[in-house]
Amino acid sequence: MSKPKFKFTFWRVVAALILIAGAVATYQRFVYGLGYATHLSDDFPWGIWIGFDVISGVGLAAGGFTITAIVYIFNLKKYHCIVKPTVLTAFMGYVLVGTALLWDLGKYYDIWHPLVFGNHHSAMFELAVCVMSYTGVLALEFSSIALGKFKWFRKPVNFLKSTYIVLVILGVLISTLHQSSLGTLYVIVPEKLHPLWYSRLLPIYFFFTAVGAGLSMTVVESYLSWRGMGHEAPLPVLANLVRGMVVIQLTYFVAMFEGLIVNHKLGYLVDGSFESGMWWLEITLWVFIPTIIAFRKKWLATRFGVFAAGFSGVLGFLMNRLNVSMTAFQWSAKVKYMPSWQEVAVSASFVVVSFIIFGFAVKYFDLFEEEDHEGHESIEESAVKAV
């Protein structure tokens, strides 16, 4: 008992150190400006606060619309047990992304401008409107799940529950738009993005891969809450999510690879450049490793196998988004960009904050417990069926 307790304290110390560094970095950024606190420049205007916090963050929160679609639209009820944690993570993810954006925007207090002065030719405008409205949808979805036990909220919550399918469909529609518009951001820079990542189909790639990321992130969350709190979604359900993720990733891989063939870009894969190395790393983590695990029945029957596939998927997804926003852009930029310690500290702080919030939520919102009165199968039953 003492060993895990020590470990827990160790991570708490690490988290506290990161948060302190993040606070110092925050002070420097808002008092002395972006130039002081970051390594951004005229030649490299978007760093990890966009590439990691926003572009990757929104993708990792894609589980929200993916899982609700699976459960409510496609009516696969055995996945109902993971709706709560994924909707929570998605809601938390979007709130954190919106907050993190304040660090990056030069005029953070005017973040609401796109809603009023919108330019509908801008992919950024589409992104801003969709992310804001989807955060609203997630807030409603989440409150219908979380506030049910408070007496005062019973009436509005019951109303929300009766219209839940509207929220779900709205959520999927808006998510389709803004997950893809993250890719649309880069459609306008054909000259600046490395050929391995530039494609006019980036919006479609981004949508598909966000679905994959949503599934793999759900698996990882489940693992973390098992490690941390002992709560757990049934393994066969998670194994099926890995299989689904692999199908999506393979479909994407074939489509993307066809694009490389048709546009005569295969040479870039074997030119030994830094970019080609990053591409192979991305694809290995994202497609190859999860696929190999998924097609070994023995491996996918173990907790470690399932979570290894999920982790690999999440890492591969991060690699992809960072490759598009950093590696591919670096290729044409005149300067080399390495994030400053302040940039790393702020991004890491947001990761820490999300862990803390998720931990609290698992503790206090009965995330992995099924509500009896909804008449769904219990976890055990669904697990048995899934096997």
Binding site: G106, M124, P190
Partner: protein, 263 residues
């Protein structure tokens, strides 16, 4: 009628009076720099052999920066200049990411930074029908390489020069077609064509905003289709469950009825 500038690189003597005049007109602090930044809207880049290239905003006909700006803080005026409104700007720097010429610069050192770029002296001169500060200084006190006028007139003049002196000029007017055309045009010497002068000669003739628009204009088409499909799938899948349940209860009813018959 959109105003424009023509820079004849063969006539530039490298005096740099354009950059000085710009600093004075736009009240930019510090001495003239070597690179464009927040305090230098235009600079001269020496390319050897007494050849100097002016760097400034190209004032595209269909500007990429204005199309990507989520709040229209950058916009194209009917007179030709692409101008900036700090009050609207949110500081996302997408314009800097997207500009094919790397024009918009940022006040990185300030807590609340502005985007800085050449605005073709819009407020102080163009609105009043005056030529830009750089072109006036160049014509009156410099080598006379930067011309100001109607875009159509300057384009005709550029082609006339190439046609009359084919041995002097590279046979290309930079900015005539690049990314849909620009309101700043360049002529290069024959022995130092645009490619050797660090001009991006691989830019498409198509305006870049069209690339994004080809994606965004699909949205109104996709939403109803996707919404119908999702709602339909929900209806189908839930109906399946309902039917199964009803069959179950029907079975029970039938069994009961049968049981009743037996009795």
């Amino acid at each position: 009628m959109p105003k424009a500038m023509l820079v004849d690189i063969t006539e530039c003597v490298g005096c740099g009076i354009c950059a000085k005049a710009c600093k004075k007109e736009q009240k930019l602090p510090g001495p003239v720099g070597k690179k464009r930044d927040w305090a230098n809207y235009t600079v001269l880049r020496p390319e050897g052999d007494d050849v100097y290239v002016r760097e400034l905003c190209m004032h595209c006909t269909d500007p990429t920066c204005a199309s990507v700006c989520p709040v229209s803080a950058l916009h194209k005026t009917p007179e030709g200049p692409v101008v900036y409104d700090f009050d609207l700007c949110i500081g996302c720097r997408y314009c800097m990411m997207a500009c094919p010429f790397g024009v918009p610069k940022y006040e990185w050192q300030k807590p609340i930074p502005r985007i800085r770029k050449c605005i073709m002296c819009y407020d102080t001169r163009i609105k009043k029908g005056l030529p830009t500060a750089c072109s006036q200084a160049c014509q009156e006190d410099g080598g006379g390489a930067t011309y100001f006028g109607e875009r159509a007139d300057l384009l005709a003049e550029a082609h006339r020069r190439i046609k009359e002196n084919p041995d002097t000029y590279d046979n290309h007017v930079y900015g005539e077609h690049e990314v849909g055309g620009t309101n700043v045009l360049f002529l290069a010497p024959k022995n130092k064509p645009f490619k050797s002068l660090q001009f991006n000669t691989k830019l498409p003739d198509e305006a870049l905003p069209e690339l994004t628009w080809q994606v965004l204009n699909k949205i109104p088409v996709i939403i109803p289709v996707w919404a119908t499909f999702l709602t339909g799938m929900w209806w189908l899948n839930n109906r399946k469950v309902e039917v199964e349940e009803n069959q179950g209860s029907k079975k029970i009813r039938d069994e009961k009825l049968e049981g009743g018959d037996d009795e």
